[in-house]
Symmetry: C2
Subunit: 436 residues, 2 copies
């Protein structure tokens, strides 16, 4: 039986998923990110070291295990790819070259209550750059360019990356005279859920804000521009603070680099905060046009304190594509599909079982030249064998003879062909993935 | 800290792993196998339904879970890809086209004590063909061809597929007058571990064999031929049984098809049995020449009773490559490596930080044409920037100028180049993976 929160794709959906993963991977590699896979499990203490996530962890135990295992020995499944990456860096820093650019495409697990678009097992595709001691800011500007290239390579609705910088928020709150900036940030982060009036009330109640301060926070959060004009909009609010200025400068760099690379890709959105996460500067979220209500499908940011070994810090910046989430949304809307459910391009028809060796040789010749080929499973009537191909969306059926012929079963066109030389049109060689 | 039994590869090893997985996948797809991924977890009762594996299962529980969860609700990590595949087929048989050819490349987990070449988390690459009601025998002959093509595409020692057929063994034992054929099979399966004398003694003790019957079983197990001459060798033992004849006929077909496809690929090895597994006919194991002592790196067989729904049976045949096991062995011997630790082909040198935008444009132009490119992280001295490339095995450094030049840092050769047209030799575009 299906298990709630553990999605499984049917073969044609899996073809779409592989296509998407191939595009993600090749874009990541064009930018020089090296692949990494970490084990699925981490010690519980590693998983809990960032706090806030304890309720989500799946712990492991062996069926035959003794009862008295201590907490230190406990292993749990990773719930993201950042915590394992940080652990991997601290464990292997002597063997890595820094700055270390890695991508990681793996399943993660969270023991949450499933709801629409939320899974307990899902696939993430992360990139991060990590360095020893300090990490130049230009890497923050690079993340949206990579993600922009990924999304433009896919047959999906347009993606808009929303970007903010914690320094802008914290500097602004501090400049306003609010000291508990973390509490302000967490509260403003609820804007989309509870609305401005409740946020204002909460700011007064829990963050020691006056009504005027609360309104100023809301005015900051309302700023949203597709270019660097947010800088003037913030300055017009009349708050000044060195951290605010630093944040505005950084955020402007990110927005301007993205606008040069791909107009329309980015938007400075000063309400996003990624409340509970450990970001210290730039933060990213991503909306799909037409799917805004489903929330972010690609998020990340800068963390100055990703990892440390003794006195050495390893700051990083990264972003993570929610692959299962993205596919689940688009499959759910019928907005993404493949032209066939198998990789096969040609079925070699089998006139009779005693000609199987001949048909196998034809198939071998086609495969030798990179053409995915199957031989019909049985010597059924040719009508049945064509149906076998048609049901799977396979475009060609090959008929052995003197000479051999190959039939495009979509058009009905049938031509003489030699397995040593015949080549299908490039568009037919592999399944085609299309959006709607 | 590393966790025993949970291997992790460093970036250059991961490049090798991805290369190997790409080759496996493309060969599987050339034969028309469709990709499938199943969830990592199954209900405990599904995992235990085949028996014999209970000690290996990792169970999950949520950190905050109530104590009183009943056994029916328990989820465990899959320990192979066959049990989940069987479950997927029964769950989705109405949505699948049969015969269903699928491949599945995923991690599996076993809570065993780790030992050399054995892992608790490891990657398997499986192909299976499953059909409704009956599955033609020719699929048994196809498995070694696919695996032979996979192994020939990889820079690894030669692989030899060892093949047997349970019907040969069971028919032979029955023809000899031994009724507990399962017990005989399990005992003969210990031959490599305990030697012929102990096997003979055990056959007498536990399977009711006479000394003469025990010796006949050993003579059968000693037969090993690279062609179909095993048929005569078995017949010379003077045992006759209809099941034996059926098995010999099937086994001869497998051996002959493999010999036509790839001489030297296969060997009929009548001692292999895959003792505890649920195979009913053909069984496969695979040895790497020079690595025989490490055991099989690719195994499988025919199972008439893979799955059933009501009165409908789904027989199958399949084989599984132990990817982590194979890589672990070869990495351990230093017998497999990559020419660089990153996908990057070109580093664009950065003369000064204010020229970063220019360098980014050069990188974008190269990436546009499929050339993996990074811009240097800082405007260090050029010697340092060349060292940055050299340490990662990146072959080219690009120097912006009028005109631009590109340097092959292996040969020192430096030539004028235009980012809109320059192309590296094909062999340099991606890391090269080589055996030793």
């Amino acid at each position: 039986m299906p298990i709630s929160g553990f999605p499984e794709w049917l073969p044609s959906q899996r073809i779409v998923e592989q296509y998407v993963l191939d595009k993600i991977r090749s874009t990541f590699e064009l930018y020089g990110f090296a692949s990494l896979e970490t084990r699925a499990v981490e010690p519980l203490e590693t998983l809990l070291s960032k706090g806030e996530t304890s309720k989500e962890v799946y712990l492991l135990r062996r069926l035959q295990e003794d009862a008295g295992s201590s907490r230190e020995d406990q292993l749990g499944l990773h719930f993201d790819l950042t915590v394992p990456f940080a652990r991997f860096v601290t464990e292997n820093h002597g063997k890595l070259q820094f700055p270390f650019r890695r991508y990681q495409i793996q399943k993660v697990w969270r023991g949450e209550r499933p709801q629409e678009g939320r899974y307990r097992e899902f696939l993430q595709a992360d990139i991060d750059v990590v360095n020893r001691d300090t990490l130049p800011f230009h890497f923050d500007t690079e993340m949206p360019l990579v993600i922009g290239d990924v999304f433009r390579s896919l047959p999906i609705p347009q993606a808009v990356i929303l970007v903010n910088n914690r320094k802008v928020c914290e500097g602004f709150y501090r400049g306003l005279g609010l000291d508990d900036t973390a509490q302000v940030l967490r509260t403003v982060d609820k804007l989309d859920k509870i609305g401005p009036d409740k946020v204002a009330a909460l700011l007064v109640e829990t963050a020691g804000a006056t009504d005027a301060q609360a309104q100023a926070c809301l005015r900051l959060a309302a700023i949203s521009t597709s270019d660097a004009s947010f800088v003037d909009a913030v300055k017009a609010l009349g708050v000044s603070d060195p951290l605010l200025d630093e944040g505005l400068g950084e955020l402007a760099q990110v927005v301007e680099a993205a606008n040069e690379h791909a107009p329309g890709l980015i938007r400075a959105e000063l309400k996003i905060a990624r409340g509970l996460d450990y970001y210290t500067g730039t933060v990213y979220e991503t909306q799909l046009l037409g799917y805004e209500r489903f929330g972010s499908i690609c998020s990340g940011g800068r963390y100055e304190n990703l990892a440390s070994v003794g006195n050495t810090r390893f700051p990083g910046v990264g972003i993570s594509i929610g692959v299962s989430r993205l596919l689940g949304l688009l499959f759910g809307q019928g907005a993404l599909g493949a032209s066939r459910s198998v990789p096969t391009c040609v079925v070699v028809a089998l006139p009779s079982e005693d000609q199987r060796a001949t048909c196998d040789r034809i198939a071998a010749a086609l495969r030798q030249r990179g053409i995915p080929t199957e031989v019909a499973p049985t010597a059924a009537k040719f009508g049945k064998q064509i149906q076998f191909a048609d049901r799977r969306g396979i475009p060609y059926v090959w008929f052995p003879g003197s000479p051999d012929t190959v039939k495009d079963i979509r058009s009905g066109e049938q031509v003489e062909a030699d397995p040593a030389t015949w080549t299908p049109p490039a568009a037919d060689l592999h399944p085609v993935v299309t959006g709607s």
